[in-house]
């Protein structure tokens, strides 16, 4: 089975942070063409919706957002365009995009360091129910891929993976590490 439309969400430290300050930052990313090789198009503000998609930077190849789905605030990359390569390649691409975006937000002076990766919680979704229905067969098919990827990402350090149970939801893996990692650490691991 082929993993496509990989979404990666890095949970941030303060889950109650106001999202409005992100709007000018994301507009700036469009203006400065901040995402390498990706076309950024528009900003959609859903901060008025509880536990919603937050503020979304709409792109052609993928969307970037600070997403509050499930009341779990995090920096999310949603790969929309189909990617060639292996499942590992696609996991690396989406994770690197999410980490890079998160690193930019951490360094953005207008945000005052308020959007920081908590260092330990990563959610991985597959945003296509036909490719990856949320059931035991999908878990079985992709579990080895997720572990292989996690070992690389955390350089063999301790982590755990659990999966969302609700069959209606997207296929979702919750990856948690025993000790915190910085964005730079993780980007380096994927280099």
């Amino acid at each position: 089975m082929q993993l496509q439309h990989v979404n990666v969400k890095l949970l941030i430290q303060d889950p109650d942070e106001a999202l409005e300050p992100l709007i000018p930052v994301f507009h700036g990313w469009i203006e400065n063409r901040a995402a390498d090789d990706e076309l950024l198009i528009d900003v959609a503000d859903y901060s008025h919706v509880p536990a919603g998609p937050g503020v979304v930077l709409i792109g052609h190849e993928g969307n970037y957002s600070v997403d509050n789905t499930g009341n779990r605030l995090g920096v999310r990359y949603n790969r929309k365009a189909v990617l060639d390569g292996s499942n590992q390649d696609r996991l690396v691409q989406a994770t690197r995009a999410a980490l890079t975006a998160c690193g930019r937000l951490e360094a953005e002076p207008r945000l005052g360091g308020k959007f920081r990766f908590n260092g330990q919680d990563i959610e991985i979704f597959i945003n296509d129910r036909l490719v990856a229905p949320n059931n035991a067969a999908t878990r079985e098919a992709f579990d080895a891929d997720f572990h292989l990827f996690s070992r690389k990402l955390f350089r063999g350090k301790e982590y755990s993976i659990s999966y969302r149970e609700d069959p209606r939801s997207l296929f979702t893996a919750f990856v948690k590490t025993a000790r915190p990692f910085s964005v730079a650490d993780l980007l380096e691991a994927l280099a």
Binding site: H5, E31, V49, V82, R129, V131, S169
Partner: protein
Amino acid sequence: MKVSNSSWAERLTGKIPEGLAREIDIFETEIALRKQGKIDERLFAETRLRRGTYGQRYDNGQRHNGKTVQRLDYPSGDLTKGPNTMWDAPGMQRIKIPAGGLNAEQLETLADLAEEYSDGIAHVTTRQDFQLHYVHIEDTPSVMRRLAAANITTREACGNSVRNVTACPYSGVCPDEKFDVTPYSRALSKFLMGHPDTQNFGRKFKHSFSGCSQHACGLASMHDMGMVAVTQIENGKEKRGFEVSVGGGLGAVPYQAKLFDSFVPPEELLPLAQAISRVFARLGEKKNRSRARIKFLVQDLGIEKFKELVLEERKSLAPDPRWTDFVDGAEKFQETPLRPGGKAPLLGSETFQRWVKTNTRPQKQEGYTVVTIALPLGDITSSQLRSLADIARRFSKETIRSTVEQNIVLRWVSQSDLIELHKALEAAGLGSAGAGSIVDIAACPGTDTCKLGISSSRGLAAELRKRLGEKNFQLDDSVVKLHIKISGCFNSCGQHHVADLGFYGVSRKMSGYAVPHFQVVLGGEWEHNGASYGLPVIAIPSKRIPEVVSRLTDRYAANRKNGESFKDFIGRTGKVELKRMLEDLARPPADSSDRSFFQDWGDPREYTLADLGMGECAGEVVSSVEFDLAAAERELFEAQVALEDGQTAQAGKTAYRSMLQAAKALVKIESSNIADDPAQIVKEFRARFYDTQKFFDPFAGGKFAHYLFSAHEKSGEPYTQDSTRYLIDEAQLFIDAAHSCYNRISAPAHA
């Protein structure tokens, strides 16, 4: 875009009605042919529109970043999906929900589609549709197939076709209704969709059903064809029927529907709609889009002549069994509850009691309640849709409706379940109070996603919602009940004409910069099916609209006479005083270094009209034009006051003069010697601004110029109450367009 696109057809085989599956297959083929350049872009555009697949802002491959226009280099290069509409640009998918009726499985389908193809949000529109934004054209066949498998269609959701047939969401449970209009609205929707007689319209056609005349829920007065349930006694028996009106509509210039027949029996409803469709298709305007809605045909012919033509057409129709097949079933149609009725709890938390006050209303069936789920700006997340599906299954037989106030109602809730239901809604983030109140603001997409948007209607709505929400519990009860409705432009998708406080987006120039504004529209009425339309009073910068709301509501709360409605208060106060109350807010800021004034709500970019399309540069700004345009606005205001005072002829003449004044202001940019002669002004304006298309709105084209030409041609005719009312609206739009034209042609890099 989705890797699974090629697999859904096979996966859903047997789950989609055969005809519908075939139509979607054809649409998918048309997509492939357009990609190969084998279908003309205009033809493809109308094809996709008729399948509900719409364009969105920035789909022309350009975006203004507040300083300059930036190219958006979509990977598809020059390939288009319509004129000036790039193939890869994300678009909007509209989804028809006849009468707003939904079940739990359909909510779950919408949830999945919003998550996989859009941005995790489904949006309820002011016509009970759903919309998904940022959808790729090549994903749309999969979206349509998955909807079709849940018995939902997008067919004729846009384009020159019969749009979603709307109906009062309380039909069947409202204590004040004559009878349940739901089955009749569904029968009409099914009958007209894809009907050969509805395929050759010059513009869209909207139908609506209401169960009574006194409430707003159906808004029958503002539809192309509106049906209000009525009964009469025949041979000692109560007979159902409909009061049918035609030719209503909002749009740039709103028209109240005219009564066509005070009693149309159910068996005549479908053939009558068919006959009206045929007359509209045959005689309606086809070339000039701005005059192509049926309201113009009814106005031009007069209701009596129109009726005569329709009744003649009715006689010529070949009988169709579908006209009456549904009638017996409709009489017997009745939704049923899941649980036994109960008694409303007397206790409960303060939050619960507040919610009960605004979000529930008793049904005519004892022991049951309709619950309104208030959606902020009409938005609901995928997770919330799934939670709502669970709630609907737990507390009802999935009797769900979307509403024209961009909310969702759950019917047949046992009153004894209200506390538990509210807890479940709160857990899903859907338990907010305030439905139908001043914080429950309706807004079209505006500049967020609409190509026609001038100002940020959703941004303003979000800001007002926040501010009013903060002081909601201190607001006077009379104020809490008011309705605010906002449109991003003159096209009225936010239904601003029928609000207590209506706003629509315009632009004005201040200190050399374009500034987002809203026209303040007052005097409209939401009740009685949207029985009266408000008029613009003054254009105010967007950032000062919250202050407008404060001043007007404070004054109303303080000066309201016993039981006086807001509409009556506005009428009693008068336009002169209203304008005086607000005019200081229309002035430029003393300190123009505060750049936030030159931005719109929720958008940090310096405001511009450039995303609407680029105009020619006429070089230096001619400041006298701004004075002349302001004078035109003053004159128009005098026309409104005259109309309010019953001086119809004077109002008509003054409105016409205001248009001449605005036209002359533009002509003076090119020829300062223009005389005051109306014929000369119109001639020069036509030659210099209409024939050259300089005056053309990027999307409405020459529509507003025609208002001037028509006013000029009819200037010798007597002014009636109706014609003057329309003329004033048209004059306002003409002046707004003159401002926009001036902004475009005088635009420096930042405007």
